[in-house]
């Protein structure tokens, strides 16, 4: 008898070309049974295409996929599910208006009489219970999913994969919207599942997470396979070199001396009505203030309140020393406030519109002559910002849908520069952007601050808030528990405040 393959999954010589781009070039990906396998690569390296191939969302041009040593063809998502491959996307695809148990069993409901499709309600709850237990989640399974936290929803997504008796579970950046305690909980479950023999493919941007949970690592760069390593036999620096092709750029502390300008923004006992209560602080022109805290600590709510996206329940906001009554984003923008939202695709960009429109929306009057928008002016303005910020696009009429994350973020920044915003609010502006693009973004923002723009940035990355801001406001459960100069701050000091 032949030796069984040492691998549960083998993807060999996978090549996928799109018009003008090679997304995967002869990529090898081997996964052992019962391991947590980290898939690493900068944005655009081909991770998501590889996963799409595995899940049957796209078909490769060349290459073979073996499962337990047997060749399989996956041309449709249903094939992947049948073969026991489950994908948990970054943005979860649960049905928010259905209950926990309905979500878990969706599409695989136990039936009483098969031909009638009559659901066996009694069995539903017990089956849902079982899979929730397997991820140590104790929630009321009659509750609607939209009422749960992101972390709990993620656990439910994993529970679904387990309910379907998946052989391979792919977690696509599962930690990106979780707080550190939630991440710890997720890792605990991942380790537990590994002990039970479950195979997990783990996609992330955070190297510390890779070292914490993974057994082996596969690295891609520019669509090419860079190697597969045991996690305990490779160093962080080696990984960074393989991922970027260059040495890790050490992010230095923001040591620029702050020439404190006039006060740009002051919040006086602001209450957002949801989480944040009694928030008071001020930001000066040219200052970069980092808002640090766990996800759900009320930082985003504060930004949205300043921007007029949500109504204030109580308190006052002062702009440049004057009391401001901001009732809508229109009011805020007129007073010189810009807002880079966390969710680029749903709140920042209009994906079905091109660069011209996304950069000029709200300031079309700049391009108008004789009451009509003049394409020539529109182009001139757009070209100016494209060149100033280094936005890479095929042409100005390209839909922003087709830009990379870093370039999308630059388009949004260009929009606010075009508005000549004096106060810029940013909510996790570097989320999902690769290392190089991040560095570029920091440089742009620091230039803006030097020109006197006041910047308020929410971030959950400790290294980012330390290296990038002049001052850090630490949030915990809806209030500010610390207001410290970045020079005096240490990782431990800030973290301990949030806990």
């Amino acid at each position: 008898m032949m030796d069984p393959s040492p691998y549960l999954l083998e993807m060999n010589a996978i090549t996928k070309k799109y018009p003008g781009v090679v997304a995967l070039d002869d990529v090898t990906f081997h996964v052992r049974k019962g391991e947590i396998h980290a898939l690493l690569g900068a944005n655009g390296a081909g991770k998501s295409t590889l996963v799409k191939v595995l899940c049957g969302v796209t078909t490769p041009d060349h290459g073979e996929i073996l499962l337990n040593g047997e060749p399989v063809t996956i041309t449709h998502p249903a094939d992947a599910i049948k073969l026991g491959i489950s994908y948990v996307p970054q943005e979860l695809s649960l049905v928010p208006t259905m209950s926990v148990s309905q979500n878990i069993l969706l599409g695989q409901e136990p039936v009483l009489i098969k031909s009638l499709g009559l659901i066996n309600e009694r069995k539903v709850d017990s089956l849902a219970m079982q899979s929730l237990n397997s991820v140590n989640l104790s929630v009321n399974f009659h509750q609607k999913v939209k009422k749960l936290s992101v972390s709990d929803q993620q656990m439910i997504a994993i529970a679904i994969a387990l309910y379907r008796q998946s052989k391979i579970i792919i977690l696509d950046e599962p930690t990106s919207s979780l707080s550190s305690t939630e991440i710890a909980k997720l890792f605990e479950i991942m380790k537990k599942l590994r002990q039970e023999g479950q195979t997990i493919i783990f996609i992330t941007h955070h190297l510390e997470e890779v070292f914490e949970v993974s057994d082996r690592i596969t690295i891609l760069r520019d669509a090419v396979f860079q190697g597969c390593y045991n996690t305990d036999q490779i160093t962080r620096d080696q990984i960074v070199t393989l991922m970027t092709g260059k040495k890790d750029q050490v992010i230095h502390r923001n040591n620029q001396v702050l020439t404190s300008g006039p006060e740009a923004l002051r919040l006086d006992h602001v209450d957002t009505g949801f989480i944040s209560k009694d928030i008071s602080f001020s930001v000066h022109c040219g200052e970069i203030v980092g808002l640090f805290g766990q996800v759900g600590a009320g930082r985003t709510e504060v930004l949205r309140a300043i921007f007029g996206a949500d109504r204030l329940a109580a308190g006052e906001i002062y702009l440049f020393g004057e009391k401001a009554n901001i009732k809508s984003p229109v009011d805020a923008i007129q007073r010189g406030i810009g807002f880079i939202t966390e969710d680029r695709k749903n709140q920042g960009l209009i994906l079905s519109m091109d660069l011209l429109d996304n950069i000029n929306i709200g300031v079309y009057e700049k391009s108008m002559q004789f009451g009509l928008i003049q394409m020539r002016n529109l182009r001139k303005i757009t070209e100016h910002y494209r060149d100033a910020l280094g936005i890479k696009s095929n042409n100005l009429r390209q839909w922003t849908n087709f830009l990379s994350g870093g370039n999308q973020q630059k388009v949004i920044l260009a929009k606010w520069l075009n508005h000549e915003s004096k106060i810029l609010l940013m909510d996790e502006p570097t989320k999902g952007i690769d290392v190089g693009a991040k560095q570029e973004f920091y440089t742009l923002i620091q230039d803006l601050a030097r020109k006197g723009v006041a910047i308020l940035m929410v971030t959950s990355e400790l290294s980012e808030v330390l290296s990038f801001s002049h001052r850090i406001l630490v949030f915990r459960k809806g209030s500010i528990v610390g207001d410290i100069s970045a020079k005096d701050a240490t990782e431990e000091k800030i973290m301990s405040m949030t806990l």
Binding site: S352, M353, D357
Partner: protein
């Protein structure tokens, strides 16, 4: 050979070497060719101007509907606004108000009805489907109430010219329709309200957070649409030399169909006025040709339904 040619065109559209409307334009040409072969009466100038007159009203209402659809909304009150603003014009004339002022009264009335729609949708925040379903019923009811369900007929030439006049071989009505469509195109691409319309249709929340005033824009959209429908009312009233509470019923379907055949996405954010014009002419040609071939009206409706499905299906393939 035919299928390889259409594949070629499809690929050219995909690569953006040809505008997105080329597919539907090709379909229109093919349709005209087949009718020319099948009926000796089709390819005549008299018949062509018939088709243009028939398509004029659809072009005008569908241009308005295209704007609404571009914003991600829908307007079911097309026919009712058309009808009621036509009645305003007719009543004006019967009350001895000069024709031009009566026409303005009708156009103003249509715009106002649109503003009310926009208010319900943008300010009260009722979903467009429900809001315009309600106004469809209300405006139509008002039409019946104020006319007592009796037609008003017999108008001076200064009004009838919009339905019967010609400039060279072209009917007045068709030229007016093209003018309206052109202005709408200008509005969509070259004015703030138009760009905001596409932005709202593409991503309402992003538009709001970019400083677009949703309620103002929505009132503007439905007001412009209402204005378009009342221009159609002018053409219809002039052609029939009558206004009645029955007029224009079912027009909303024709308007939506023309826009969708022309490439507008009901999800919003994407719309093309040239596409809509071609869509309207295509439907008029289809009806005209089938009539010449003595096909029963019921079968005509059936064919149009199939054309809508086919157009959307081809559009889906194109986007793959």
């Amino acid at each position: 050979m035919n299928s390889t040619f259409s594949k070629l065109v499809l690929n050219k559209i995909k690569d953006r070497q040809l505008p997105a409307e080329s597919g539907i334009f090709l379909a229109l040409i093919l349709l005209a060719l087949s009718f020319t072969i099948l009926s000796p009466y089709f390819f005549t100038s008299a018949n062509f101007s018939n088709i243009l007159i028939q398509s004029a009203i659809t072009i005008v209402v569908a241009s308005g509907a295209t704007l609404v659809i571009a914003s991600g909304g829908i307007d079911l009150s097309v026919g009712s606004i058309l009808c009621l603003s036509g009645i305003f014009m007719a009543m004006g004339i019967k009350a001895d108000i000069p024709a031009w002022l009566s026409i303005l009264l009708g156009l103003g009335g249509g715009t106002l009805m649109g503003v009310i729609n926009g208010f319900m949708i943008g300010v009260v925040k009722i979903t467009p489907l429900i809001a315009t379903l309600a106004s469809l019923s209300v405006y139509r009811a008002i039409a019946y109430i104020i006319t007592d369900a009796r037609p008003i007929y017999g108008f001076p030439m200064s009004l009838r010219i919009f339905g019967t006049g010609y400039i060279g071989p072209f009917p007045y009505a068709f030229l007016l329709a093209l003018l309206v469509a052109f202005v709408l195109m200008l509005i969509i691409h070259r004015t703030r309200v138009g760009r905001y319309t596409l932005a709202i249709g593409g991503n309402e929340e992003a538009a709001r957070l970019s400083g677009v005033s949703l309620w103002k824009t929505k009132i503007g959209i439905y007001a412009l649409a209402g204005l378009c429908y009342s221009v159609a009312a002018l053409i219809l009233t002039a052609r029939l030399n009558a206004a009645e509470a029955l007029a224009g019923s079912g027009m909303e379907m024709e308007a939506i169909a023309a826009a969708v055949i022309g490439g507008a996405s009901l999800a919003g954010g994407i719309a093309s006025i040239p596409g809509t014009i071609i869509g309207a002419i295509l439907m008029a040609t289809l009806k005209n040709g089938l009539t010449l071939l003595s096909v029963q009206p019921y079968f005509q409706q059936l064919t149009i339904g199939i054309v809508i499905v086919a157009a959307v299906f081809i559009d889906k393939i194109r986007k793959r």
